[in-house]
Symmetry: C2
Subunit: 641 residues, 2 copies
Amino acid sequence: MKVVFQIEGASPVQVECNAGDNLLELARRANVAIDAPCSGNGSCGKCRVKLMEGQVESYPSRHITDEEYEAGWRLSCSCKVVTDCTVFVPDIASAYQSRMKTADLSSPEEVAIFEKAQNDLKESGIVFDNDFMALELRMDAPSADDTMPDNERLTWAIQAQLGDVAVEIPYIVMAKLASTLRQYDFHVVVKGEFLGDRFACMEICDPADTAVVGCAIDIGTTTVSMVLTDLKTGKILAKGSSGNGQIRYGADVINRIIEQSKPGGKKKLQDAIVKETLTPILGNLCKTANISARSILRLSVGSNTTMNHLLIGVDADPVRMDPYIPSFFGWDGLKAGDLKLPANPLAQVVIAPNIGSYVGGDITAGTLAAGLWDKDEMSLFIDLGTNGELVFGNRDFLMSCACSAGPAFEGGDISCGMRATDGAVEACTIDKDTMEPSLTVIGDPGQRVVGICGSGIIDIISELYRCGIINARGLFAREGARVRRDQHGMGRYVIADAEESETGREVSINEVDIDNFIRAKAAIFSAIDTLLRSVDMTVDMIDHVYVAGGIGSGINMKNAVNIGMLPDVEPEKFSYIGNSSLAGAYAMVVSNQATEKCAEVASNMTYLELSTYPGYMDSFVAACFIPHTDRNLFPNSIQEC
Amino acid sequence: MKVVFQIEGASPVQVECNAGDNLLELARRANVAIDAPCSGNGSCGKCRVKLMEGQVESYPSRHITDEEYEAGWRLSCSCKVVTDCTVFVPDIASAYQSRMKTADLSSPEEVAIFEKAQNDLKESGIVFDNDFMALELRMDAPSADDTMPDNERLTWAIQAQLGDVAVEIPYIVMAKLASTLRQYDFHVVVKGEFLGDRFACMEICDPADTAVVGCAIDIGTTTVSMVLTDLKTGKILAKGSSGNGQIRYGADVINRIIEQSKPGGKKKLQDAIVKETLTPILGNLCKTANISARSILRLSVGSNTTMNHLLIGVDADPVRMDPYIPSFFGWDGLKAGDLKLPANPLAQVVIAPNIGSYVGGDITAGTLAAGLWDKDEMSLFIDLGTNGELVFGNRDFLMSCACSAGPAFEGGDISCGMRATDGAVEACTIDKDTMEPSLTVIGDPGQRVVGICGSGIIDIISELYRCGIINARGLFAREGARVRRDQHGMGRYVIADAEESETGREVSINEVDIDNFIRAKAAIFSAIDTLLRSVDMTVDMIDHVYVAGGIGSGINMKNAVNIGMLPDVEPEKFSYIGNSSLAGAYAMVVSNQATEKCAEVASNMTYLELSTYPGYMDSFVAACFIPHTDRNLFPNSIQEC
């Protein structure tokens, strides 16, 4: 059988298959990106494709209306191929890449936040320095009177500059030593690391090429961001981001761990991040910065525990299996060459250490960047990524925990939810009288609505509640033109009618969506509550709240307090600190001391396992209201009308 | 155009080409082994193929008779393809592999010589020990009360056995750590090197696999030999050898250096030795020894300077270009993974150091094994490989030099010369009265004569001289049934008539051959003479002569003295020490002290450049007689009749 995938904005892909093959699996085998946050179990409804020719066998889904079914729309995870066919695949992959809100330093605000983090670290006494260098060497050519072979000649020339140190010449330098010396008439640049008593050569090249470059990488479950930096000046040379290529194996870490445990799975997941994601970005960054990949002498990675296990290709099953102990916390043995990354193969890939299965290197790097470890005041650090992770404490102690907020913040589990790409409603106000919404939509002016992303959902629910349209349980309490009900009586608020939307489908938020979202925000708040209780503290003792992560960027903090997601502290106590994982990774790649400090922060951090902590479930249940069962916890939030 | 190579004893190979393509080049591109010692310049006459169908454009060669030309024989280096054609290729490659005399420990005599060398080293105080080990570890699985991650667990288990040492876990171990620990219920073997204050892990595996293996490699220009050894007991686990796959790029080092300097040449020559030669042997040895390649934790290489440059892929041009300084003497940065050898990728490949362009690691390793460095007596070490290298001295000094004896000892430059494979005359006596020869031919009983190898040529020339058939200048002085002359009056001695030989071609030795051979032996003897003079010594002060190398094995030492090739010392002073490069490499892989000693021997060895040494040319000219112009140098040799 033959299946042709007509991919929006890309060349069609044709694959051979057998009758009965699952269409989503087939797309994955053919490297066709289809969004499947639930990894193909039929629950998320995101893996839509449109049948153009031929037949598939499919079972009905609540995510496809009768009209849509008539028009050919199917969930690819629920389709078996029965004839040759052609299916249309909406271009979600390139939408990610083009306009995903990845906190990748693409706006001046983000750059300012990033630079503030680095300056704060410097003020905390972290020296931004490392031992990498480019040495310009001028040697004589061998002659009858000067019979030293090339490697000894190089060693002497280095010692002439650095003193009596051991010089390590690895294979990649030795193999091209003779030809490079002669190509440049024994006037070359050697790059490497000066480790006190020894100089480890890493590259020999053109005397004009003195670039000594580091690369900081944030690997999120959903998106990946990178910066290239000059290791001597700290200057950012290039930056870039894209979706995490593993997305087709599931939106969340659990589904990916399950995928990697299948035969060949570790290689597949590793290739998806290394070959398909990091390698092309890195290639582009080198081009932008006009440097050779061999000039990248150190890399650093801020990533959650699952992501760094999948990066290395180490079995990630222990992460999700009782007793939830990952295969490593800290490990400093990785080289770029091990992953075949386009960088100097000897470059160390510094991985920010994990402290548990669900509090990983993105959080330790983020905590480093947020500076909690250097403050007297009590700070709460919240990273709202695909999962929610929290750190609370100061220079004396640090407590951390993770909560499974679910994919709601990224648009999962929400009928019209989507990630923060073009067409997503990212902010909203509602007129209390007319109940008409005012929307902020991601994209060029005139962009029509496609769906709602996390920050938009927070705003809409907060506004619906403020306007009395929904009650504390998230049920519709007012009627009006935009409030509609289906045949079962389930209410929904229509953001955009079918004819107003980009897709021709109504964009709305219904009671099930709101319930899902309330559970997600309750997970966050009850985690905060439990973390505070674990150290016998209360909300009013929080001096500062740092909100990090891509989702955080667009959040209206006040609305997030209003719905009972974030603690009710004075607005001036909130700081949005952007992609703190990337900021921490950057500090680590440039600064040896920052790397040491991150290890120290990690080793001093205590991990609280919420699921077994007494009272957590009660706290969660109590938080499943807007804003909370205990109104005293939210004295300043809006009142239900 | 299409060319089909019908290879004797193998499947035919068909290649596409353009009109005008050179047939030898085409064969090389198609990996068809055609012997071409002169690398295709038309001088050696060895690259014969037989045209079966189609046409080629070729120029005449003195190496092809008219009858042979009629029958279709051509020199492939001198043919251009003009039509589709089919050519027959005699199977020289597999003849090498099957019966080449490689001194590869295949006979009890060789094993005895090899073992004696190791015992002598031990008696000289070299401890045969290293720091590699296999640790059996039993750990508890992680639990809620024992939450250490895998890498820390492994570290603790190692420290429980070795004390408080740093434990290095590299990528290849980390990547499979989680799955291996769980596969074997946390009961595993870890292999690595214990370096005093740290243990460098190299492999984690099945608790039943405790193999800790080394591999010693002798890379000769013509042949390659290897042994696998247990690194703890020193026991030999497997041994093997084959021709050096680079042979198709030229028989001698100069032609190969020229080949590697062409675009893509370094990779081509490196692939020929690594992928085509070492990798298959190593695979076989692992199979024979029933060990995993990952168990090979150290390798060592004895090889001449050009061979180790080509192995690493470093430009070898400096070796042959004025001022003849190679790119390195000693270098310890090579890992098996750099070459993608089937061994533990972290295994160091210890290279015996070179001391000059033409005295390489095979000689320093051989000198280590011969034990010159530990003796009071004056010893002369001669390695008769593709080149001739000499070392003279004792514990106080070591002088070395190389002479370009040319390919005569390996059958090159001799009309019926061949390497020591099936059908080669390897020994000969001649009846003084009847002038009839008695031959020893390599191969199964009844093997007919194909040609003459180096040791056979020494015997024949010595016997021809002893019988008065040739004079001191190598010209024929007697007439008889086996002495024939061509139309120009050039004499030859017929070993086998056309109908007696394997090939249907007469096997004989003519005056040009003898002249070529006399130049080769003169190169050796004048090198000895010059080396002695350089330290103000004479032949009678030599206490011992060690003859090493594959060619040495079959040499009749007395005949070699008779023709003035080896110095005229008492027969009991000669020792054949076999493949001393392999013996030295073996000592180095097993013993850290042997590796250090080899480096010390190399650094103490003085290199004498013969070509510029005063009096060398005179000495050479004087040696161009049988046995020598100065008969006093050979008082005990036979007299010309």
